[in-house]
Symmetry: C2
Subunit: 473 residues, 2 copies
């Protein structure tokens, strides 16, 4: 879909400032135009920073009237360029940083109502004050904001138990592309009063509407936690272990992360100060966490279930954290893997999901496939095995720079994505499409789904002013 | 939105039969034109019964070409007239009864792929064969079919733990109003590859697209279950009890149903053969169920948590089921309440949800409010307290017939709905809008949400052939 947009010029920025107040409109400092991986560099005539929903609507109406593109800006932590527009008519950035109020916390309802600009860590803290948790947990929680987390339907390590961002939200308040405000901060779990609008705008990456606030679900902060390393010979054994643990421990498994020997080696090489798990038989490690209420006896139950798995030949060895500090050290290994990856320097990174039953075959196939492109390529494959969501990253041979691999980078990426598609998976599992995967979406999506997507875009943003060029070209 | 539709005449029915085969087109027997509460009586030129997705698409294309309305027909158990079109140009019914194959069951992925016409009880059985459950559980499970359950985003007694129907579905295959097939039977939990189409069509009651198949989530069948009656003095105490149990028992609480003394009296009066729970202090009963894996020790833990609640003065008395037969007897009380209600004969029934924190005040306000309309009115209020979803039904005074109340029936309904709206709740919690609540939706919905809904309808069914008159007038 091609839309004709106009560049935001000085006169337009002045009109925005007049309408919203001078505090609300600022020059676009460089930090708004960069992104974590440094692949995209943005442009913007100004940063618009409304502090109310009505001000967001006023800004959007002005942009719609002038046909000026809006790039919604949340925490800026996205990895697929959704927050960065590099070319085309000059847009404005619309940042939610001043809409950062927690409007309400209700323990009986289990609802925290947050504005789009609230930082995830602040939402965690507010939930903690009433002995609850908001389960969305990911590496960028100190910077990521609620609006962006919902717009991208963020994932993280607790999806296995609590679901994706969309599952943790009961309602949204949002502004449509013509400035219409949709007020839908529902506080009830069951509401079939007409079509579900929140699920349309959640995950649309700011291209169908702008989320200004959300009612978020809180869960009890559970008294008992048990965390363990388990070693397994293969991803297939890791999956079998997960099946056993789910049967044995009910719904209490709250994390199940896969880590490879390669990942631990990268960590040892680049971040030697991180305490490694002890040597264990088997090429793969699983970090498993279980939570329950008091008397749930999770430590003993996890230990018994893991002992059964050793007995069954499924697990090589296990280590159960004996104290909070040790638990934190286990998690630090997992959390530092992406940093080690950045230090090594990936040729190509992939945020993929595969139906779990096909993951072992995928891993067994993808390695040799990339080896055929270049025998030195090293793979670090890790992540949220329970969701079928792995970060599948290709790295240079030891001692080589990734520059040497620039000629095969596109081939590596294409080969991985083609294989994911062949295996019935997704090449945009938890990070979204942004601008990085627009062509992948065109290539891999079902034609009927693409048709449905185009109709949604036409229905909600006929002028194409919302995040131009993201998701759909 | 007014659409011009044509009546399906004999010639059109003949063309359908020619295109789909004679087996696929039948006269509309009376059973297709009735609904459980007897309020609506339908009309249809024929029942079209395609047995493949392609045949559904062919039928839809023919209807679109002739501008003939399609009433999707699933199990016929809906309570809001969504499956019944009484007036306007003669439509065809499109029944999914021949699309009743379970296409695939995969234990590792935790996915069962079912066609729209599969009966819920058959899906339960297929899940049971691999020691899994599909958690959607409701009274009509012997007749309700997957397509209708998803189209109405059905609820039931396990929403508190497992979510609504939409939360139990990872993907759909669907036919749009122009015959476009959307193939989206995803098997992965994390997939942000573009807009989420399944959530658009789920809950749209057949007005935005026709679901032909779905990938459904399976969960482990847990080894331990504990079920108890607890008596409380008030709904507020019931909510406080739920908060305690959730904190104490982690995520294992799988049902929490509220029943009033009035409900038990109706049951005693109309179904004396049903074994009642023992007399207990307090006007309200809660039926609570907890499930966990082996070693979860759920019976002891539930008993301890309930003992604490008695100690705290929150609970009058408790009775924990000692065997499966007793558990079944407990549940039979809950399941027979709607049948007792039918035997008494309601003046007006309401499927409402209220933010739990406001439920006690709602119940305290609504009773006297209806009493002011007629002092003899009896209230039976029961249901899924943990979700804030109650069935709030008004009945005649003892010995009176509901005919006498016909003059105030509309006032009762309006007063209850106005109060629900004032309390921030929904007047269509788990049964949907259908045709019964079209005016309520217009009256209570946020104008921005209604605008968004109209855009969705225009985008996906511009001719208005899909379930004409349902959801949106």
């Amino acid at each position: 879909m091609t839309h004709h947009l106009n560049a935001a010029d000085e006169g337009f920025v002045a009109r925005l400032a007049e309408a919203l107040g001078p505090d609300a409109v600022r020059p676009a400092e460089p930090r708004y135009l960069e992104e974590p991986r440094g692949r995209y560099h943005g442009q913007a005539a100004a940063v618009v920073r409304p502090d109310t929903t009505e001000a967001v609507a006023a800004a959007v109406r002005l942009c719609a009237g002038a046909r000026v593109g809006i790039v919604p800006y949340s925490g800026g932590t996205g990895l697929v360029g959704g927050q960065i527009l590099s070319n085309g008519p000059m847009p404005v950035l619309l940042s939610f940083e001043r809409m950062n109020r927690i409007r309400d916390v209700n323990v009986i309802d289990g609802i925290l109502t947050a504005e789009a600009g609230c930082i995830l860590a602040d939402v965690h803290a507010a939930a903690g004050e009433v002995a609850r948790i908001f389960p969305l947990t990911l590496a960028s929680e100190g910077s990521a904001r609620i609006g962006g987390l919902l717009a991208t339907n963020a994932g993280g390590v607790h999806v296995i138990r609590y679901g994706n961002a969309r599952d943790l939200c009961l309602g949204v308040e949002a502004v449509l592309a013509d400035g219409t405000i949709v007020r839908g901060l529902s506080r009830v779990v069951k509401d079939n009063m007409g079509y579900n609008f929140r699920h349309v705008v959640i995950g649309s990456e700011g291209t169908l509407g702008l989320i200004t606030a959300a009612s978020l679900r809180l869960y009890p902060r559970l008294a008992e936690t048990a965390t363990a390393w388990a070693s397994v010979a293969s991803p297939a054994d890791a999956l079998a272990l997960l099946g056993r643990l789910r049967g044995a421990l009910g719904g209490t498994v709250s994390a199940f992360e896969l880590i490879s020997t390669q990942g631990l080696e990268f960590l040892a090489e680049t971040l030697p100060q991180v305490t490694q798990p002890p040597a264990m038989p088997g090429d793969w490690r699983v970090l498993v966490e279980v939570d329950d209420g008091p008397g749930g006896n999770v430590g003993d139950r996890l230990e018994a279930a893991l002992a059964d798995a050793i007995e069954a030949g499924l697990v090589g060895d296990v280590l159960i954290a004996q104290a909070d500090a040790q638990r934190a050290a286990f998690w630090r290994v997992r959390e530092m893997i992406p940093e080690a990856n950045r230090a090594i320097g990936a040729i190509s990174s992939h945020d993929i999901s595969i139906p779990p039953s096909r993951l072992p075959e995928f891993i067994a196939t993808a390695g040799p496939m990339l080896g055929a492109l270049d025998p030195g390529v090293r793979i670090n494959c890790f992540g949220h095995l329970g969701d079928g969501n792995l970060h599948y990253n290709a790295f240079p041979a030891r001692g080589e720079s990734r520059d040497r691999y620039e000629p095969i980078r596109a081939s590596v990426s294409r080969a991985v994505h083609d294989l994911v598609h062949e295996f019935g998976g997704s090449v945009a599992a938890e990070h979204g499409v942004g601008r990085l995967k627009v062509a992948d979406l065109e290539r891999y999506a079902d034609p009927g789904k693409l048709e449905a997507m185009r109709r949604l875009k036409q229905a909600f943003d006929p002028l194409g002013i919302l995040n131009p060029g993201a998701v759909l070209a």
